[in-house]
């Protein structure tokens, strides 16, 4: 019993390694091609890297703290001291923007990754096993997709309450169904490929075929879905925070910053413009990157 368990663990580790090695090389090729062929996507990639760096190094870039109030300089216009001005509490907008970037990037990446894992697992299972498994998983997915995603997110957030972990959970529950649908379709196609047949011929079990032969072939698609899911998550989180359902003050979040800045739209427009521009930039960058990846993956798209 113990032995088989260990053997399984070893097999799993070895699988993981193999798929990573295989993908890494392909991934490198892919990125190289993308940079060469699609300048917008390459620029977006650079922008995203810069944003990640800025978020990570935030505290080192500004002399102010996230919640450092300076009531003498409330609602100050952008100046040399405060590059993007200050808000109603005299807090530096640029500083809050950088701290907010951490939340937004985390919110973008973590739920996108979680929904990808959940969706891919369920999608492959539904596609490969078919029958009842397929029916149950896909009907649940259909129900999820039947609601407007914003409404669904609001309902779940109301039920769970605010906080960053609940935002993760909500966005995962909202986004998995799309991934599952795409992966299921791909699985149905791959299932009838001869290499799957060949795997069955040498006696590979069902679970192993799903993990080892079907999933790795879905990876390019998953990569694109991932980059397209990130901006969707960021936008949803911003909307939730704007509505007061997501990140709770005094923590900084771009959506929350727009919400509080709304009251001063005429007297201090920078309070809304700065986080608004940040959201727009990062969403656009991820979208361009996703489209760029899609282009290099699908040769037919290039000619259009």
């Amino acid at each position: 019993m113990l032995r088989t368990k260990r053997k399984r663990a070893e097999q799993a580790a070895d699988l993981l390694l193999q798929s990573q090695i295989g993908e890494e090389e392909r991934f490198r090729d892919l990125m190289r091609r993308m940079v060469r062929e699609n300048k917008t996507a390459a620029a977006s990639f650079v922008l995203i890297v810069l944003m990640v760096l800025a978020a990570a190094l935030g505290p080192l870039l500004t002399p102010y703290g996230e919640n450092e109030m300076d009531l003498l300089h409330r609602l100050a216009a952008p100046s040399a001291e405060h590059l993007l001005g200050t808000d109603e509490g005299g807090r530096d907008v640029l500083t809050r923007l950088l701290y907010g970037a951490r939340v937004s990037l985390l919110i973008g990446v973590a739920p996108a990754l979680l929904s990808l894992i959940l969706g891919a697992a369920l999608g492959v299972a539904a596609g490969y096993r078919g029958g009842l498994t397929d029916a149950v998983i896909m009907r649940v997915a259909d129900v999820t997709l039947a609601f407007p995603s914003m409404l669904l997110a609001m309902v779940i957030m109301y039920a769970l309450g605010g906080g960053i972990l609940n935002v993760f959970l909500t966005l995962t529950l909202v986004n998995w169904a799309n991934v599952a649908r795409v992966v299921r379709a791909q699985t149905l196609k791959l299932k009838n490929c001869e290499f799957v047949e060949a795997a069955r011929i040498i006696g590979v079990s069902r679970g192993r075929i799903m993990r080892r032969h079907i999933l790795p072939n879905c990876l390019p698609t998953l990569l694109v879905l991932f980059t397209l899911n990130i901006p969707a998550s960021i936008l949803t989180e911003s909307s939730l925070s704007f509505l007061g359902l997501g990140i709770q003050p005094p923590n900084a979040s771009w959506g929350l910053m727009i919400n509080t800045g709304r009251q001063y739209l005429y007297s201090a427009p920078w309070l809304c413009f700065a986080p608004g521009a940040a959201i727009m930039l990062i969403v656009l960058a991820f979208n361009f990157l996703g489209n760029g990846l899609l282009d290099v993956l699908d040769p037919r798209m290039k000619k259009q």
Partner: protein, 325 residues
């Protein structure tokens, strides 16, 4: 040569369709003696591949084995549970097929794919599996086997991929290899090499069931030949016998349809008509609609396989009679 690696008795595969049940494999009996290459030949859609799948236990729903038995080394395997059959696949019985281009997983290195076969059936370490794979690559004559282990399928030519497929199928030393049109997608020089490889495998003790529509391939390597038509075996004999004295009008039609360089000129003969729809088989002999020598009783009932000379069976009422044209 008395020992039989594979014995199929009265195998029938049926598929229920909206318009009725069709049987792409109908009462097929065949044997593959140990250490031989046995061929099945026939037009597209005559049930060759379906027979192979049924033997492997890989029929796709809704196709089902409805009768007969498959004995592997004397052991009945059609009634085994799926888990047991899975253990047999790759270890005792293996298969390669037509398309070497799509039969390998495009995102996994070929060496690893062969190693997977080793590790599934034998308890051995990764290094041992790799060593076995390398040995097998040498055996199937892959040039520079060490560097090929780490290639992805798209980096290899069609012939090399088919060799990898054969290595994958053979690495656990199965008793029986089913080769379903193994050379159809390859050019003639590579085809000759692959056939030679099959012969070497036979000499090393593996029995081969070779499925092909190419008579040249069959003539070159097979010891014994079965001719299939519309799901049934219509003629069976040793290769030499069947090529020198074909008895069934369908077999003779097949031989005449082969383009020959030597004779040159003339119009290439074909068998008139097409393979009949399995839903609307004629009442009598299924070949009666296309047969030039069809008599009254051919249209009324299906002839049995009868022996016309020792070890030469034909499913025809009028074997060997020349057609009146």
């Amino acid at each position: 040569m008395n020992e039989k690696t594979l014995e199929v008795r009265g195998l029938t595969v049926c598929i229920p369709t909206e318009k009725g049940v069709i049987c792409p494999v109908n009462d097929v009996s065949l044997e593959v003696p140990a250490g031989s290459i046995t061929g099945i030949v026939g037009e597209s859609g005559c049930g060759k591949s379906m027979t192979a799948r049924a033997v492997m236990g890989l029929l796709r729903y809704p196709a089902k084995v409805t009768g007969g038995s498959v004995l592997l080394g004397g052991r009945e395997i059609t009634s085994l549970p799926e888990k047991e059959r899975r253990k047999l696949r790759g270890a005792e019985i293996s298969m390669i097929f037509q398309e070497p281009m799509t039969s390998l997983n495009p995102v996994v290195k070929v060496g690893r794919q062969v190693e997977e076969a080793v590790r599934l059936h034998t308890a051995c370490s990764r290094e041992e599996a790799r060593a076995r794979t390398l040995e097998m690559f040498r055996e199937v004559e892959i040039p520079e086997p060490e560097s090929r282990l780490d290639c992805y399928p798209h980096q290899l030519s069609g012939g090399l991929r088919q060799r990898v497929m054969i290595a994958m199928a053979m690495v656990c030393r199965p008793k029986l290899l089913i080769a379903d049109e193994p050379t159809t997608a390859l050019d003639v020089t590579v085809e000759a090499q692959i056939l030679k490889l099959l012969e070497r495998l036979r000499d090393a003790g593996t029995s081969v069931l070779l499925i092909s529509h190419n008579l040249g391939v069959i003539a070159k390597v097979c010891d014994y030949v079965y001719v299939m038509y519309a799901g049934r075996i219509v003629e069976q004999a040793e290769t030499n016998t069947i090529f020198s004295r074909p008895e069934h009008p369908y077999t003779r039609g097949l031989f005449r349809s082969v383009a020959s360089l030597r004779e040159g000129g003339g119009v290439l003969e074909t068998i008139p008509g097409v393979v009949p729809n399995l839903l609307r088989l004629p009442a009598g002999c299924s070949f009666s609609l296309r047969c030039g020598q069809c008599a009254d009783n051919c249209r009324e009932r299906m002839p049995e396989l009868r022996e016309t000379e020792p070890d030469h069976k034909v499913r025809c009422f009028l074997p060997g009679k020349e057609e009146t044209e």
